[in-house]
């Protein structure tokens, strides 16, 4: 075979190009023009705000419809009274307390609980929280998330937030684990693989574990502090950026730029949506229900054995004086390691019993539950993905919990509400 010189090669290339490439004037379609509007900052930011507004609004309306409209009635009016009447034993017995209702003290007497939020039993709170509260929220969250993914809007959002996320050592694609984290932190930690360097993955994992509340947490917050959920999320997001900025300054390593190929906007297909939904919901059902039931059981055992009381006494100075929450918050914080949603439901129980005396204490306790430690599933995932870096992430996490928990207490004191 004859070897071509440089000039002959170029001539061959030219002739191939003449054969296969056609030059015509490309006319922009309306879809192209709309697509451009979504990535230009001046027009893209209001559109992004509208999309996220729609996301949040549909999320809260749907979760409210299923949980408040049907599940609370089913569990509080039928399931709890049926178990209270038919389960062997009575209030105060070990097995009954663990499985059905731990009860609470009113005027010196142990009385049965009125709702599955307060009962803390494996068969009551342990089923109501994952099925009645969290499942509807997770369902609608993943549905909306899948629609955003499949329409091609997520890469556009990545472009819009790229500059801001560079300030905290990340880049635009960090929006993917961040938004996923609002559903569940476990796939979000797995999604940190999208980031190139160890530094970026460390920062992202740490921020996810501390400052991004999962869908389960958000849905239960919507139930127990509906007027303050927005405030809590804003507080956590400000911590996300502030702490990210600090981590970017102190963590050694590179934060490279990204080059994104933006796909065109398209209609999602039902087949893809249903497949993705099934995979995600199945993952939730398999991991959440057993963990919440186990969490309810462990907390019940610790409570009945007096260990919670013992820990409450030891931690009282830290809780009362630094964080501004009652010492009884110890039990929900232990539960938070199993499931954060279970922990917030337990805080609601403490509030109903008058232990948490006002809304501000409740907000502080909810924030503390969010930031003090990742849940067990996220912890295991971080261990798998982060390895040795996990120790650094946990130290950062404890520092953040101490500072941001104390800062919120300070804010309440300055406002004169505590």
């Amino acid at each position: 075979m004859k070897k071509l010189n440089m000039e002959q090669r170029w001539r061959l290339i030219d002739s191939i190009i003449r054969e296969v490439v056609r030059y015509v004037e490309y006319k922009h379609t309306l879809k192209d023009a709309l697509s451009e509007l979504t990535v230009k900052p001046l027009t893209g930011i209001p559109i992004a705000i509208a999309v996220l507004y729609g996301f949040w609004s549909v999320f809260t309306s749907f979760a409210g419809l299923i949980t408040d409209g049907f599940m609370v009635k089913l569990f509080d009016n039928y399931w709890l009274p049926w178990l209270q009447d038919n389960f062997p034993g009575q209030l105060g017995d070990w097995l009954y307390s663990l499985m059905v209702d731990i009860g609470h003290i009113e005027n010196g007497k142990l009385v049965p609980s009125d709702s599955c939020f307060e009962s803390f039993g494996v068969l009551t709170s342990g089923l109501f929280i994952p099925i009645g509260v969290v499942l509807p929220a997770i369902f609608i969250f993943y549905l909306l998330m899948t629609v955003l993914e499949d329409t091609g809007y997520l890469p556009r959002l990545a472009i819009l937030v790229d500059t801001v996320l560079h300030r905290i050592g990340l880049h635009g694609y960090a929006i993917v684990p961040t938004i996923l984290g609002f559903g569940c932190n476990v796939p979000a930690v797995a999604a940190t693989r999208i980031l190139e360097t160890k530094k970026q993955r460390f920062i992202m994992m740490t921020l996810l574990a501390i400052f991004i509340p999962c869908g389960a947490q958000i849905s239960i917050m919507q139930n127990v502090i509906p007027d303050y959920t927005g405030f809590v999320i804003l507080y956590l997001l400000s911590g996300y950026f502030l702490f990210g900025f600090i981590l970017n300054k102190i963590v050694p390593g590179r934060s490279p730029e990204i080059l994104i190929d933006v796909p065109e906007l398209r209609s999602p297909t039902m087949r893809n949506i249903s497949k993705k939904m099934w995979i995600r919901i199945r993952g939730f059902l398999v991991s959440a229900i057993p963990l919440v039931m186990l969490g309810s059981f462990v907390i019940g055992v610790l409570y009945l054995a007096g260990i919670i009381d013992f820990l409450s006494k030891i931690l009282e100075p830290l809780f009362v004086f630094w964080f501004g929450v009652p010492k009884e918050t110890t039990a929900p914080l232990i539960a938070a390691f199993m499931r954060k949603d279970l922990a917030i439901a337990q805080l609601q129980g403490l509030r109903a019993q008058g232990v948490i005396s006002n809304t501000y204490q409740m907000v502080s306790a909810v924030v503390l539950t969010s930031i003090y430690f990742p849940c067990m599933a996220t912890f295991v995932m971080m261990l798998r993905e982060g390895g040795k870096a996990l120790i650094g992430a946990l130290l950062a996490l404890l520092a953040a919990a101490f500072l941001f928990g104390g800062l919120l207490h300070l804010i309440w004191i300055v406002m004169g509400v505590m």
Partner: protein, 142 residues
């Protein structure tokens, strides 16, 4: 016809601007008000953020009507309508969700169900029918 459509969208944009501004003000003040069939929301989320989106929809309309025959300008008008559809869609979805369950029983009574859809409406719902005209413009353009 072009001029009629141009002034139609300018007027719609001005209405969106005014309603958006009022919505932001009532949201910040925390006191919504009812004016005929129009209800200004009193909360930060629907009032301030929703009002802000409505304001931008007005800006998109007004800016897009300059040389509307250009596809990029038309896209701004379409985006103005899309913002209203997002807001109104959320309002209507919220109405549907709150109309289904009853206060004590499982389902709402027929009367209670219908009452949920009675006025007053949020500004985006009032603007919704007027914003649909943009579909005619897209169809005409082919």
């Amino acid at each position: 016809m072009k001029n009629v459509l141009k002034w139609y969208f300018v007027s719609l944009g001005i209405c969106a601007l005014i309603l958006g501004f009022l919505s932001v003000v009532s949201g910040i003040g925390g006191e919504g008000f009812i004016f005929g069939f129009l209800e200004m929301p009193s909360d930060i989320f629907r009032g301030v953020i929703g009002g802000f989106i409505l304001l931008f929809s007005g800006i998109f309309y007004i800016d897009g009507t300059r040389k509307m025959e250009d596809i990029h300008q038309l896209a701004k008008v379409v985006m103005g309508s899309i913002l209203i559809w997002i807001l109104a869609g959320c309002e209507i979805f919220s109405m549907i969700c709150s109309s289904i369950p009853g206060e004590t029983g499982w389902l709402n009574s027929p009367q209670g169900f219908l009452v949920s859809y009675m006025p007053p409406y949020a500004p985006s719902v009032v603007l919704l029918p007027f914003s649909i005209i943009v579909l005619y413009v897209i169809k005409e353009r082919g």
